[in-house]
Amino acid sequence: MLNKTDLARYLALCLASEADFAEIYEEEEVSETVVSLNREVQDVVRAVKSGAGIRLYKGTQSVYGFTNTLDDAHLLPIIDDLRSALTKTDRTVAVDLEEVRVENKNPVKISFEDVPLADRVEFVFRAEAAAKAADPRIVKTQGRGLNVRQSVRIASADSTGRGKVVDDTRVRTRLMIEAFAAENGNFQSGGYAPGAGKGLEYWEERTPESVGEEAARSAVVMLSAKDCPSGKMPVVIDNEFGGVIFHEACGHSLEATGVAKNQSVFTGKLGQQIAAPCVSAVDDGTIPGAWGSENVDDEGNPQKKRVLIENGILKSYMIDRLNGRRMGMEPTGSARRESYRYEPTSRMSNTFICVGTDSFESLFEGIERGLYAKRMGGGSVNPLTGEFNFSVREGWLIENGKITCPVKGASLIGTGQEILLNIDKVSDNLARGQGMCGSSSGSIPTDVGQPAIRVSSITVGGTANE
């Protein structure tokens, strides 16, 4: 990693321009994915990446350069390009970097780098074996075991030379199991992919076997699935990864990236009712050991818990430093990026709808015909219009208040504004699920979550001709 003296020297050079702020983000990441099919290792993709990104601001203009060869010969030309883009000056700034120490809320007990590869492979094999053993109709299993350590050093200074440098290390582990079930020529798959911001000790609290069994259960259920009916209907969306609905339908539109440029449906709505009164939601990057947690954001500011919606009222956006300038608001510690190859922007961390008071069973009461989305797939949203879509991986029909039979091929569409107001029940079984969220600053780990919720009406797209 670059030392404090070099960082100060590079930052001082950056500030010999009309820039009023300069930042160097340095990163070293070791990542490894074990790819397995039927308990045979297909590939081990191990990568050691290291590089730095340099960013300068002038007001709300931003210039960014990055390289992975960290010496003067490569960094100085980039700094020169960036200064030119913001107009060079001969200003000399003495940069003084204060070393900021942050409490490590995500300590790791068993680092994957200290464990033999064969042991890391075993976690994947155990999950696959459990999936295979779960049902005779499971004919194939695919497993992926991901382990990552990302160490970052973030140094920044303003035009007075006052600055800080902060280090953080993020460790993550995840198992992604896909089970394939076959019966009478019908071939279906089911998947499950939990993970955490922890070391390998995580697989003691959530066993690999439980991951494989859940993937197998979902695949087998889909063997008897009928085509999903279409049209507007009440939908119960279960907990854990079901929270992707809030992530897509609302979360992205509360990121300052869109809000600051008046490109979100929620721009200017602070203090207003944007959701049903039974809905409160937070984005909390401080949950110890959570998949989307980190001690500091990718601008070196402490991660925070942000209350986004309280009893339906919009309370806060998620704001990075640059968009904070545009909005005249303080950053909320929400700047994130995939790697040094991306300029950070406001992103989610662990985002979820808070626990409610309705019982799970009561969500189905009074529904004559509706959809129970037990497992969600992914989705996407256009923050400007609020239009979202997402797929249902495991859906069930609700008939006369009862869950009846599984259905396949369902997708949910609508607008975020509408769906938030149409949530009429929130249950008490809050749980979070893990995902990778893609946006302009790359693909980052985020938790989604919620207790089971009921939406009084959503357009369901299905394949059944009814």
Partner: protein, 441 residues
């Protein structure tokens, strides 16, 4: 990096074969917002990946900081990896092969920063003026990239390939009666000075304006045309069905389909990495295998899967030169390169006339989640327009289209003539289908 020293040391440590893949990529991007430069990004990144074969097994490692002094440490990781692989499953590194390289058209003109700024400023004005309902130019940028790949291995292979591109993109917001919609346009631009700003702006604005007032149609089964952009996006998302690896693993829907009719006989699919009309070409794949043109589907019959060296070996055939990586750090996978559904005779307008009434789908969303790659079932948010008496009628939005891609492709009525590569590596013309399930009101 002293590559020969790495190869020699690997051999001493029992790694009989070693491949060193390097990719140098350079990028420059300028974005523009409200009358001035918003962001500028410049970069130069070198990535190296090693593929070694030890005890008849393959191992991979990607590095960004290559230190000859730490050679043994890196090679030890390869040995550790080989030990957990099943035996008898080694990739084969390629020996040098004779091939006649094709020269890519090198008519890219690199603009200066001043020229980029001037063009973006003018384009912003053109976008704002393109339609009275444009309320904001939400996004505007210029991006250019160059990359060079080199592949060297212990069998004496030493090849080099590369590419470049220049992309202009813009987004606009339009509003009418309180309704807001967005439009987007991306174009590969070889010479910025020759760009028709008004035409570019008009297309971006048109994309958004058409969605104003668009409403769901009644749920039901409709005759449909997937316009080329929508067809390209769904076809692109499902080309993994042709992967020899997925077929070999039994998870492709084409696993037992060799030489059988999988699509309508009106459909022929070609993969041609050296296609001169496409945005970029590749003489070699990422294993150094020379590329070539092949028909994957001929008049509806599945003729050829895509292979890298490993999948070819497993299925006792030869690589098709499609061993491409998802990035320098990933293992060699299988990807189509300049793969298209070959165009037919009719224009979109002619197909609309023939259809009489139905729907034209212009845009599909949620392709990363709303598709089942094992069964090809899909259920996707889409937008487009209604066709009445063969003419374009009202616009449709917030509807979903659902079905099974393989079934759908058996019901092709006509294949359009409007194939365009634009900035894509996978492309399709507009295609008319007998019917498809639409969910709306």
């Amino acid at each position: 990096m002293n590559k020969q020293a790495w190869i020699a040391r690997a051999a001493e440590l029992g790694i009989a074969e070693l491949e060193i893949y390097e990719e140098l990529s350079e990028k420059r991007e300028v974005t523009w917002f409200e009358g001035r430069m918003d962001t500028f990004v410049t970069s130069s990144v070198l990535g190296t990946s090693l593929r070694g074969i030890a005890d008849g097994k393959t191992a991979n490692l990607a590095l960004e900081k290559v230190d000859d002094a730490k050679m043994d440490e890196a090679l030890a990781l390869l040995r550790e990896q080989a030990a957990v692989k099943p035996s008898g499953d080694a990739d084969e590194l390629r020996a040098p092969e004779e091939t006649e390289e094709v020269e890519a058209a090198d008519d890219w003109v690199t603009p200066t920063m001043d020229e980029i700024a001037k063009a973006l400023a003018e384009l912003e004005k053109a976008l704002a003026a393109a339609d009275s309902r444009v309320t904001q130019v939400t996004e505007l940028g210029w991006s250019e990239g160059k990359s060079v790949r080199t592949i060297v291995n212990s069998k004496g292979l030493d090849v080099r390939d590369g590419g470049r591109s220049q992309i202009l993109y813009a987004g606009v917001a339009v509003s009418e009666n309180g309704e807001v919609k967005s439009g987007y346009r991306v174009e590969a631009v070889r010479d910025l000075k020759k760009l028709d700003y008004a035409a570019f702006a008009a297309k971006a604005a048109e994309d958004a304006v058409h969605q104003l007032g668009a409403a769901p149609v009644q749920s039901g089964s409709y005759p449909v045309i997937f316009e080329r952009r929508a067809m390209t996006s769904i076809f692109s998302a499902l080309t993994d069905m042709f992967s020899g690896e997925r077929i070999g693993q039994g998870i492709s829907p084409l696993k037992d389909a060799a030489d059988t009719a999988i699509f309508s006989d009106k459909i022929t699919v070609a993969d041609d990495p050296r296609c001169p009309d496409a945005l970029s070409i590749a003489n070699y794949d990422d294993e150094g295998c020379p590329t070539r043109r092949k028909l994957l589907v001929e008049n509806g019959v599945f003729r050829q899967a895509l292979h890298n060296t490993r999948s070819a070996k497993r299925m006792k055939t030869v690589s098709t030169g499609n061993g491409f990586k998802a990035g320098y750090a990933s293992a060699v996978g299988i990807r189509p390169m300049n793969c298209s559904i070959l165009p037919g005779e009719k224009s979109l307008e002619e197909m609309m006339k023939d259809m009489g009434s139905g729907l034209v789908i212009t845009k599909l969303s949620g392709l990363h989640a709303g598709l089942n790659h094992t069964t090809t079932d899909f259920s996707l948010l889409c937008s487009g327009y209604v066709v009445e008496n063969g003419e374009r009628g009202r616009d449709a939005a917030l509807i979903t289209v659902a079905g099974n891609f393989l079934d759908l492709m058996k019901t092709v009525v006509d294949v359009g003539s409007d194939l365009e590569w634009e900035y894509h590596r996978i492309a399709a013309p507009s295609i008319r289908f007998a019917s498809c399930a639409i969910s709306g009101k």
